[in-house]
């Protein structure tokens, strides 16, 4: 395309391995972007999307370098520029909005100084006008009270404010191209909607081109008009947003779209089997990079690497692209089939309030009430029931979970397990029986599994602890549980580091299951996973619930996942229940304004 702002041809980036062979992290990417165009770059973790984004800025992480190809931004190649020119370019004509604004702002510098710095580098304004310019930038990103804000340090701002500051800083140099690296991933959904609105406005008004990297196709489609799908370092499909989402041509795009849980659907999301190949794991010079996970693969896919072809105004890297357009979404996906009858109550929470204030002498004297993190919480979970607990950060979800698990003492109210055990006791003073009946699964399996224990040791521990079984019996139970969570028995001897994210989370779930609990507490257990893996965990939870009549308390910020998975839902805001009831009712006909705004934020 002539006059394009950015053009990338056959770009490959990689590193040299121990045998000095080149290993590609990104291979033969073709991409071009005209002024004012907005492109979304979608892919799962490890597909190379951030590497590509940084390469556009002429930045390569330690060890990475360009293996081949050509990259031009306004007729120049940032990869070979002299340092001085590159410093002018970065933050000037091309600016990055980083993933985690909180950590991307220097903690020891005031906001003011960090913005002034950007202006000193990239604008011709005399320093006397910087303050005024900062005011208008903060106004541009809709931050009120700029005078006060500028004097603050980064940690004194909320996540949304930090992200807006990062956007203002990127706008300081009046860039022609904005590069965004998952800028809303750490934000609450309602904040995310505001930031996305802002970005859309800015690009529309200033005709700034934009490349938006994200794993979330919903976010991308809210701000971009073109979408590029990346898989294992290759650009597999590139096309117009609506076109691509409505009628994907590449089997991976199809799979990705099918695996996303959506609101108000009667079918379960479909997981993609297998794993994305890691760089250097296999040689894809003579085969399609997606062949191992492709349900449509033919012999030709294993013999030749597909070239990029244009199919109905789209760039697709697939041998079957021309026919694939006619394929319907994967049929035969399971219907959502929610049970309606449940037996006895497993967990009964009544008028529960929790406070983090510790008893102190001053309070005893002054008679001041402690500040309550959650207040007046009431709900029940029955056998075989999944209860979704939703709310934004700071709503008290984790506090509730901790209280039920016995890691935090309640301030008032009652908590009963099976109408038999009083859960107001902290975990250390509960009966062994009671401890065994409640199990926890954490958000991040990397942090919750001991990296120096084998899978067998991890799973054997609770069995030994609660049942004191013989070694032979333990072995048998470990085998049994691995089968139940769909993992090969050979995994017994592996270490967590040798497993993928989804497999690790399966082990974490298995560890909870071997204790034969009545209630499993799940804290955001799918949010650290890729969507295609998330779908398989959802399926696993549903099957386990049915097999063992488990009660599951599922904490999540993702309403679509809760919609698919849960029977009942409790909506929390600022430590209070705003609404609760059957998922089907609450999500289709919400009573409370807060629930409505949450639902409106779902992309």
């Amino acid at each position: 395309m002539s006059g394009s702002l950015l053009s990338i041809n056959g770009l490959s980036i990689g590193y040299s391995d121990a045998q000095s062979r080149s290993v590609a992290v990104i291979s033969s990417v073709d991409l071009s972007l005209a002024a004012g165009e907005t492109l979304g770059l979608v892919g799962e973790s490890g597909c190379g999307k951030s590497t590509l984004l940084l390469a556009i800025m002429g930045f390569y992480k330690a060890g990475l370098h360009r293996l081949g190809g050509d990259l031009q931004f306004m007729g120049e190649d940032p990869g070979v520029m002299p340092a001085g020119d590159l410093q002018k370019l970065r933050g000037g004509r091309m600016a990055l909005i980083p993933q985690n604004a909180g950590q991307s702002l220097t903690p020891t510098m005031k906001i003011e100084n960090q913005l002034f710095e950007a202006l000193s580098l990239h604008s011709d304004l005399p320093s006397g006008l910087w303050r005024q310019r900062c005011f208008s930038l903060l106004d541009r990103v809709q931050l009120p009270d700029p005078g006060e804000l500028l004097k603050r340090y980064p940690h004194e701002l909320s996540g949304g404010q930090q992200q807006r500051i990062a956007i203002a800083m990127a706008l300081a140099g009046e860039p022609d191209l904005l590069l965004l690296d998952e800028p809303t991933t750490g934000l609450d959904v309602t904040t995310q909607v505001h930031v996305l609105d802002l970005l859309r406005e800015i690009t529309a008004e200033t005709r700034t081109a934009m490349i938006y990297v994200s794993h979330d196709i919903g976010v991308i489609s809210a701000v971009c008009n073109k979408i590029a799908i990346m898989y294992a370092g290759e650009l597999v499909e590139l096309g117009d947003k609506n076109d691509l989402i409505d009628n994907p041509a590449h089997p991976y795009t199809k799979g990705l779209l099918d695996s996303i849980p959506r609101m108000h659907q009667d079918r379960l999301p479909v997981s993609l089997e297998g794993m994305q190949p890691q760089p250097g794991q296999r040689n894809f010079d003579n085969q399609c990079v997606f062949v191992e996970r492709c349900s449509y693969a033919r012999p030709v896919c294993q013999q030749h690497k597909p070239d990029s072809s244009t199919v109905s105004a789209r760039q697709v890297k697939c041998h079957l692209a021309s026919e694939a357009l006619d394929w319907k979404s994967v049929e035969g996906s399971d219907r959502i089939n929610k049970p309606t009858k449940f037996s006895r109550v497993v967990l009964r929470v009544k008028d529960l309030s929790v406070s983090y204030d510790r008893p102190s002498l001053t309070r005893w004297f002054t008679g001041r009430q402690p500040s309550l993190v959650t207040q007046g919480i009431e709900f029940e979970i029955r056998r075989g029931e999944i209860l979704g607990l939703v709310g934004e950060s700071g709503s008290g979800k984790s506090t509730l979970l901790k209280t039920i698990a016995g890691l935090q003492k309640p301030f008032a109210g009652s908590l009963m397990l099976n109408d038999q055990f009083d859960l107001r006791h902290s975990v250390g003073s509960r009966d062994a029986d009671c401890q065994q009946k409640i199990q926890l699964v954490f958000q991040n399996p990397d942090a919750s599994l001991n990296p120096s224990q084998t899978v067998e040791a991890i799973l054997a521990r609770p069995i030994k602890l609660y049942f004191g079984s013989s070694d032979e019996a333990i072995r048998q139970q470990v085998d049994e549980i691995l089968t139940r969570v769909n993992l090969p028995l050979a995994y017994r001897t592996r270490y967590p580091g040798q497993l993928s994210g989804g497999e690790k989370q399966r082990i974490a779930i298995a560890r909870a299951l071997v204790a034969k609990p009545d209630l499993i507490l799940c804290d955001e257990i799918t949010s650290a996973l890729d969507v295609s893996v998330q779908a398989s965990i959802i399926k696993l939870l549903l099957r386990l619930r049915q097999e063992s009549q488990l009660a599951i308390l599922f904490v999540s910020h993702d309403l679509a996942v809760v919609d698919v998975l849960a029977d009942q839902v409790v909506v929390l805001e600022q430590g209070r229940i705003r609404e609760s009831g059957p998922v089907s009712r609450v999500f289709s006909d919400p009573d409370h304004a807060y629930t409505q705004s949450l639902l409106a934020s779902v992309l």
């Binding site: 930045f59 340092a83 970065r90 993933q99 220097t106 580098l121 940690h155 004194e156």
Partner: protein
Amino acid sequence: MLLLIARRFLFALITLWAVSVVVFIAVELLPGDACQAFLGQMAQGQRLDNCRSKHQLDRPAPVRYLKWADGLMAGDLGQSIKRDKPLADIIGSRFRNTVILGLSAAVLGIPLAILLGAIAALYRDRQADLWISGIAIFCMTVPEFITGTLLISVFGVWLGWLPGIVIMRADAPVLEVLSNIVLPVITLTLVMVAHIMRMVRTSMINILASDFVLMGSLKGLPRWRLVLQHALPNALLPAINLIALNIAWLMGGVLVVEVVFNYPGIGRLSVNAIADRDFALVQAIALLMASIYISLNLFADLVTLLLNPRLRSQRGTG
């Protein structure tokens, strides 16, 4: 913020009081007492009793503690029976000498250590880093008395540039002290630099890998500004306490160095006091050392507060 500082001060005072009690009890537990030590093992009868009543050693321990503490608060360290002089006079000039030596080493060594640490981190695993780290670790591993002796034999004996050992009275004028301490300062610096430099290097490497440094470079910041304004202030935060401990170590009088160079400092005085069984002097020096450690730690805390805005304010999400 003010409340925070007030609390730290209060805790420092409480610690100091606790230390004074512990020091008093420890000396009390030693066999014999000051008069016995002064008059010798064989002393008995009237002379001992006279001495004890003269120095009020016949009073019960709590009373003597209160008297001692009362004197301390008025700035009176007490009297050495053995040396028959006010303790303040004995300690004063020695401590001054130690402070001069220690401060000179600190002023030279700390900026050097920070600079070297930052350079080593910036050129991590390359020539500059390997040389700096290698030499620093070598200097740290070689004991002070060998470094000192080597320096004396090279610069004092072989080249004859500098005096090999210090020959001066404890209360010599400051200028004379300064001209005498070149070699001891170099010895102390060599030992101290490695600790701080390694810490700064590690902390700087962590900071250089952080998001805000990457962001700074993608914002178009020149390298030197990125390092000086963004990375270094953050990298120094964890090193502040280590630096304070090193200064305290220097202020305590590094005995080996003082002995090798024949330097009249507090380190040698304390050993002499123990050897002479001069109870009052031991007690006073122990308390002095403790207050130095406590006040330098307090100082480090305050500096950290000053440099780290996250500790200073409670508002925001932190």
